[in-house]
Subunit: 212 residues, 2 copies
């Protein structure tokens, strides 16, 4: 799924170093402001090797986003399995989930920052559009919300919309209010996520059928 142009496909270690360096610099400086020389320097790799591995600065960006998407999906699946099993206290479960996803190693916040970067900074990369237009994270969350709906813990006639709303009330709002650099222990982050989850549950709490 990854592997943009691994012309030589050398040691995975070097590949990871390059991806990590590129991700960090792209997030901190933006795509255009990040020079390939800086990435190579930070990765401890010669510029030539970088080009042999990825072929192109744009291809490197695609690889970074691809890798981030995979990481995020893995984190979501793992965290969901660990936090979103209980139906007893949905607020605690959803808040735990949001907090962990937001702050976990390369969580959704960095992912969203990358998305913004891609969407705004280079709005003309057909390859990227394909990669990131899958909305896999939202779909995964939607599936879980649908499950809660089936169990009667939520009222979600349209799970995908509900998932979008949950994401908007938590991650989207967090990254919009705070910058792209969010520290895990920032009290504002916890506050935003908490309020967001609260509002989400108020909007999607099961209500007596007669009320409508």
């Amino acid at each position: 799924m990854t592997a943009a142009k691994p012309t030589r496909e050398g040691s995975a270690h070097k590949r990871a170093a390059i991806l990590g360096a590129a991700r960090g610099l792209f997030l901190a400086e933006g795509f255009d402001r990040t020079s390939v020389d800086a990435i190579a320097l930070r990765a401890g790799v010669s510029k030539r090797t970088l080009y042999d591995y990825f072929g192109d600065k744009q291809a490197l960006l695609i690889a970074v986003v691809d890798h981030a998407a995979d990481s995020l999906m893995a984190a979501i699946r793992r965290t969901m399995a660990e936090t979103l099993t209980e139906v007893t206290d949905l607020h605690a479960a959803l808040l735990d989930f949001s907090l962990r996803i937001a702050t976990e190693t390369f969580g959704s916040v960095d992912y969203l920052a990358l998305m913004r970067l891609v969407t705004n900074e280079s709005g003309h990369l057909p390859q990227l559009r394909d990669t990131l237009m899958t909305n896999a994270p939202e779909e995964a969350i939607a599936a879980r919300l649908a499950e809660f709906g089936r169990q009667g813990a939520l009222d979600v006639p349209n799970p995908r919309v509900a998932a979008d709303h949950l994401v908007a009330l938590t991650f989207l709002l967090a990254i919009n209010s705070l910058g792209s650099t969010i520290s895990a222990d920032d009290p504002r982050l916890r506050s935003i996520l908490d309020e967001g989850v609260r509002a989400f549950l108020r909007a999607y709490a099961p209500r007596p059928r007669a009320a409508l």
Copy 2:
């Protein structure tokens, strides 16, 4: 409030032309990808004049954002006065408000796109931070929501949080789902705003005190 470096302060018409051209190109291509020559060409002005007016590419960006913020605030105030007066049908009123703000001449969507651009593309402009960190739009909306709360039409213990949630469920979600280029008649936009307003009202509808 505007006026970054109007070294010469010539005809307001030329100034507006430059601002408009810059805004359009910044939104379409991003800040770094937009050359000053392109802006001058599109504005029908010599590059030299552009520099005489604004002094600097960064100063031009600041002026653009400043102007956008002013426009948006004016639009919000005007539209709020025209749509958010009725308490009878809050859903219709809020949806109308959202739709008009989102699609109006330089609505919140473009504003948010500019914010993203600024935040991500050049994360090191102290001047810009000051300009856009006011959160004036959210504050204005919060004030109106508080008013609704006083009238018993909504249950908003914390108006500012409620305003953030409304914005997240509508504009933020819209710009995140659709690109920065949103046509006013895109049915998806209306759908997103409608669902967002619905969820917001479910979350902030007045509820019997006994229920909690």
